[in-house]
């Protein structure tokens, strides 16, 4: 029941926002989204074990049987919380920046929250597709109305890329129904487990690819990433934050949730080139980020690099790799979200995204510089901060599968230190110019309040991963078991050693 409330409250809030007077909307949106977040915190208790909880399963459409089936497990738990946390944060970030048509802005923001939470909790393939497409519309408007100069090009590109991928997924979903007679995901898994639903090689490959391409576009996996820098650069700050922190996770979430358990054979079979693309993305994203003169673009390309890590971890098919990948999804959401917020705050002051317009910002704005530094360090994977845990686990998992993949992947970590620290050096250190001195003021209370929860999480997730990992590991163990029980033959891959359960590793370290 509570899960339904958390899911539908943003939709209600979105409608209410449109009915409220102009000056009350942002306060309403803030209070409302904080309440939704508070309610979502209460979801943790029963979901902490990682199993499927908060199930609602009622018929929606009679023929073909489509059910409103939502639930929460260890995989979706933190992603839902990340979405509900970032919505109030985005409201705070947009507080003074959004002056133009604020009503619609907050309505779309809440509608987006509805869509993404729906994607994470939907357990019926059809319902999943519905939410998947629903997220497109608010994002399209957020970029298109409140974005920068080339916003229209960027938003149309974003929409068409996603749409092109997802129509094939729809074909695959309909085909699955044709074969399984149901859209209900747990039921389909059960049919596969019990051997009543078997796919031959070609079928499995095509279905896997149809799902995978839709998700890979969203991730975005190199070379399907080209919509991302455009969308990020042109989006308003809140749009970039939601896009980077939550929307990209829809893709990796989909891979873990659907591609691995349903099409284990095909996933193993195609792991080689997917890992190669992931590694290419890691290196390419990092190299391109290094030469970007535009801060937002730099962070956007760093996302391509970070998400490559996540995909690589998933296709290592090890407990560590998967746990690390899911943990990295959350980490990236927090640290890159914070980076986009900081860049947005700098833009509000100096009205430029060019790195060379800054320099010496640490001088007039020490708090801004300090927060940026912490976020930078988190992003490059400094131990005791969140990304370190995720990257370490991913690399460990990947090392168990194929050591050759580790070297270039680790190189990505080194490169991320290069571009982020170089950015910090150019923007924050050195002599402050007159414009910087006069325009760039320090963070105000509202901005600190927006950043504080993210900073807190960076540290907490860095030093206390045990608070977060157990439900994730439990859910991943199930997914991994399915993806491997699916493998009747292992042609291209070496045997996969079952790694020790992750929490033990961390405890030992």
């Amino acid at each position: 029941m509570l899960l339904n409330a958390v899911l539908f409250a943003p939709l209600l809030g979105s409608i209410l926002t449109l009915l409220l007077p102009q000056q009350a909307v942002r306060k309403f949106a803030l209070v409302f989204s904080i309440l939704v977040f508070a309610a979502s915190l209460a979801l943790v208790g029963p979901a902490g074990s990682g199993g499927e909880t908060w199930v609602t399963n009622v018929p929606w459409i009679a023929s073909p049987a489509i059910r409103y089936h939502v639930s929460l497990d260890g995989l979706s738990l933190w992603l839902v919380l990340l979405s509900t946390l970032l919505t109030p944060v985005c409201v705070l970030v947009s507080w003074s920046y959004i002056q133009h048509r604020p009503k619609e802005f907050y309505a779309f923001l809440l509608l987006l929250e509805f869509g993404v939470v729906g994607v994470f909790v939907a357990m019926d393939l059809f319902l999943f597709y519905v939410f998947w497409e629903v997220t497109l519309v608010p994002m399209y408007f957020l970029i298109g109305v409140w974005g920068h100069e080339r916003r229209i090009y960027a938003t149309v590109k974003f929409f068409l890329y996603t749409m092109a991928g997802s129509v094939l997924m729809l074909a695959a979903i309909i085909y699955l129904y044709h074969r399984a007679g149901t859209f209900d995901y747990p039921l389909i898994l059960e049919l596969i487990d019990s051997g009543r639903l078997l796919f031959n090689g070609a079928e499995q490959t095509l279905l896997f690819l149809a799902f995978f391409v839709a998700f890979a576009i969203k991730v975005p996996l190199f070379p399907l990433h080209t919509w991302l820098p455009d969308a990020h650069v042109e989006a308003p700050t809140a749009g970039s934050v939601m896009l980077a922190s939550v929307l990209l996770k829809l893709g990796t979430y989909g891979i873990v949730r659907f591609c691995l358990p349903m099409f284990g054979n095909a996933a193993h079979e195609h792991a080689g080139w997917i890992a190669a693309l992931a590694i290419a993305g890691i290196i390419y994203g990092a190299l391109v980020a290094m030469v970007q003169p535009n801060m937002k673009k730099l962070v956007a390309y760093s996302s391509v690099s970070h998400l490559g890590f996540v995909v690589l971890g998933i296709f290592s098919f090890t407990q560590q790799g998967l746990d690390g990948a899911v943990y990295q999804m959350l980490n990236h959401g927090i640290s890159t979200g914070a980076l986009f917020m900081l860049v947005g705050m700098m833009y509000e002051r100096r009205h430029s995204l060019e790195i060379k317009a800054y320099g010496g910002v640490a001088n007039p704005a020490p708090w801004l510089a300090a927060v940026f530094l912490i976020t930078t360090l988190a992003s490059i994977g400094l131990p005791t901060l969140n990304n370190f845990v995720g990257e370490f686990l991913v690399l460990q998992g990947v090392a168990m599968t194929n050591f050759n993949w580790v070297v270039p992947a680790a190189l990505g970590v080194v490169l991320s230190a290069c571009y982020m620290l170089w950015l910090y050096q150019r923007a924050f250190l050195g002599e402050a110019s007159e414009e910087v001195r006069s325009h760039v003021t320090d963070l105000n209370f509202r901005e600190l309040a927006a950043l504080a929860p993210l900073l807190f999480l960076m540290v907490w997730m860095g030093v206390g991963p045990q608070s977060f990992l157990p439900p994730v590991s439990a859910a991943n163990a199930g997914i991994l078991r399915r993806s491997q029980s699916n493998v009747e033959y292992q042609v291209k891959l070496e045997p996969i050693r079952p790694g020790p359960v992750l929490t033990k590793v961390i405890a030992r370290d």
Partner: protein, 488 residues
Amino acid sequence: MISNYLPAGVEYLRILPEMTLTVFGALLMLLEARAGAGHRRGLAYLALFAILLAMGGTIVAAASPGPAFQKMLTVDGFAAFFRMLVLGVGALAILCSGAYLAREKADSGEYYALILFSLAGQSLMVSAAELMMVFIGLEISSIATYVLAGFLRDDKRNNESAIKYFLLGSFATAFLLYGVAWIYGVTGTTYLNEIRLFLRNPVVAAPPLVVGGSAALMFVGFAFKVSAAPFQLWAPDVYQGAPAPVTAFMSAGPKAAAFAVLLRVYSTAFADVSGNWIPIIWASALFTMIIGNFAALTQQNIKRLLAYSSIAHAGYVMVAVTAHSEIGIAAAMFYLTAYAFMNVGAFAVVTHFSRQGERYVNVDDLAGLGVKHPLLAAAFGVFLLSFIGIPLTAGFFGKFYIFKAAIDSRLYWLTVFGLLNSAVAAYYYLRVLVVMYFHDPGEATETLAPPSTGIRLVLAGAAVATLILGIYPSLLLDIATPSAILAR
């Protein structure tokens, strides 16, 4: 005994809608002569009243299903469904027309009478069980629509539209008639069920060439009416030239009726030779989608854009026809209804926005509509999202059901191509959304007056229906599914 040739009482009941429409159509013509300039509005209300009566008549007729008039007509769920659909389209078109006709100073009873006659023809078409009846219904509907397309006599574009529609349309119906003649030559009957029985009879092997030829000739006629490739060329010019409310009517009502006939003829008379015609319809469906969508990409004129989009949507329905199953028929019925709502809604926006002489019909004229007229833009936005096929709109479920039917009939490639097509289509619909919401208001939006009550009713009704069918498609599908059983 003469009484054997007279239809039984209940058979009159079964053509209640057609009778109502014809009587009121004639009445409107008479009243037109007597009505002064100030009373034209009353005629519109009378036409609406007639349509409501005809809807009631449809329900009464559907309560006692069965054949009528020497089995030339058959009143079944399928007929009732499409009768309601075309009548609904007619009512919405009349609601759109009042303000338009007053603005163009062409308000007259003839217009409404023509709509009623056209509806009577469509109503006959969808319940015809015999090929001559199909032809007669088609002609009644078409002739009225030809006149409507050129209703503004002094307008060059209207005349072009009407002439083009008339010449090509009559040519196409001639093909249909020729096909009927061929099949009569082979089977000695024009009754759909008897043709079916003849063709499935292994003893009297029908010459396949002639049967195929007649099916193909009839396909030419129907394909023209539904604007399916390669007979879609007329549609953009005619849709662009005709008065906007007439285009709304043409692209939803007669098209739905023509699809109904197409479905009925090919799933009854030619059901057992499906192996011969499915490849042709397969190709036609594919090319209709491709031509419609790709040509729409570059259109500047909103009416032309919607015309190409209408071709593309006909292509999706052709996919359902290709599926050749009851699920496919139900999917087509759902889709045509959903399409009727969104398309009439979209044309209602165009009708209102274009102003006198249809001055503002470019996509760019809509700039800033979202700021200046948020409700109008929101309604248009709902229709456009529904055209794209975004979930929670009727258009999405329409596509979903069609492609599900296609996959059930193992048309995998057609499904993949069709879905990719709908991704292409997103581009040109998005362009309209972009202009409406992301551009600054221009002259055309600044000077726009609020819409008339009729248009408001259409917009609200169509938008609500699009959303409700997008959330609870079962409401309609549960009616369509049992009605889709045609041949038994």
